[in-house]
């Protein structure tokens, strides 16, 4: 054993001494522990009835906390996360509206097209502008001369 001195020649005697020392140390330890506990036990101690009542109160408070904390947490989360999500939704809706908005533009364009077509039709049916008037006369004249030459040719035949 580690605490056996090498100079000792009688192991039995040494073991006896060692056991006595151990027993003495443990007796001292017991005495010290009793002293410490006695000293602390002299301090005031709450009555178990009061402790039980306090424990009940604590348990009730704990249960309340158990219910309230998640509810408050959810409310807080809704308050914190809600507005940004609402804002995001609003932005999405705006984008959607922006995307959707070109549709009326296309209908307007379609209306414009028909109007334009009508306008072109009406322009085509309109009289020739003044600046081109001589040309128009000429074409009408040439048309009439062609008709007269056809007539004379037919009579000659």
């Amino acid at each position: 054993m580690k605490f056996r001195r090498e100079t000792n020649t009688n192991p039995e005697k040494d073991s006896g001494r060692e056991m006595r020392e151990m027993a003495e140390a443990m007796s001292l330890y017991r005495s010290a522990m009793h002293h410490i506990a006695q000293k602390h036990a002299a301090a005031p101690f709450a009555a178990p009835e009061r402790l039980a009542a306090e424990a009940k109160k604590r348990a009730r408070a704990h249960r309340t906390r158990l219910v309230l904390v998640p509810a408050l947490g959810a409310a807080l989360a809704a308050a914190v996360i809600g507005p940004p999500i609402g804002h995001l939704h609003h932005e999405k809706a705006t984008i959607a509206r922006v995307v959707v908005e070109p549709a009326p533009v296309t209908t307007v364009a379609a209306v414009d097209d028909t109007e334009l077509m009508n306008q072109i039709d009406s322009d085509l049916t309109q009289d020739v502008p003044d600046a081109l008037a001589p040309l128009a006369d000429l074409s009408s004249q040439s048309g009439s001369t062609n008709q007269s030459t056809e007539k004379t040719n037919a009579s000659q035949k």
């Binding site: 054993m1 140390a25 017991r30 709450a46």
Partner: protein, 192 residues
């Protein structure tokens, strides 16, 4: 005839234990030092020992209707304390950042302790040093070994009582005690 007498004695003991529990203030007064001592020696943490002592009596108060007197009041209370201590050690081991145990005996606690039969300052100092050595060695024991050691050498219970309190086989108790003593001899002897 002997059997009947034994049964009567057991019933009487049980009734006595139940009756004893009726005056709970007296129960606290009588058993508090013992429970505190056991927890203090086992945990080597004064605050935890005081808290668990209070919890122990609170549990006993709440469960007093269930106490049938099958064991002595002392064994019943110690068993509650052992269970509380196990729960405490388990929860403490989970909180790994917390210091696992007090390394040294609080000087304030034994500064006014004078060992029996020693009057010279030198003797007292030597005795305190020996106590500190045992304290440190006990701290190195496993939880089971420490409980068995404390119940045997501080509370001076019989091995059968220790087995009943800790809900262990007698052979297991003997084995824990043997190992605890071996560790103590090694630790204390190694310093010399």
């Amino acid at each position: 005839m002997e059997e009947i007498a034994g049964n009567e004695l057991a019933i009487e003991k049980r009734d006595q234990a139940v009756l004893e529990l009726a005056d709970f203030d007296e129960v606290v007064r009588v058993y508090r030092p013992r429970i505190l001592r056991f927890l203090l020696s086992s945990l080597t943490d004064r605050d935890a020992a005081e808290t668990l002592t209070q919890e122990c009596f609170l549990k006993a108060w709440n469960a007093r209707a269930q106490f049938r007197g099958d064991s002595s009041l002392s064994t019943w209370l110690t068993r509650i304390a052992v269970n509380l201590m196990r729960d405490h050690l388990r929860s403490r081991s989970l909180r790994f950042w917390q210091k696992t145990r007090g390394d040294s005996l609080d000087v304030m606690d034994i500064s006014d302790w004078v060992p029996d039969g020693r009057s010279s300052p030198e003797d007292i100092t030597v005795a305190r040093h020996r106590v500190a050595e045992v304290w440190k060695a006990v701290g190195e024991l496993s939880a089971h070994q420490r409980s068995v050691f404390v119940l045997r050498f501080v509370e001076e219970l019989e091995l059968e009582e220790i087995a009943e309190t800790l809900n262990m086989n007698l052979s297991t108790v003997k084995s824990h005690l043997y190992r605890a003593l071996a560790v103590l001899r090694e630790r204390m002897g190694g310093k010399e």
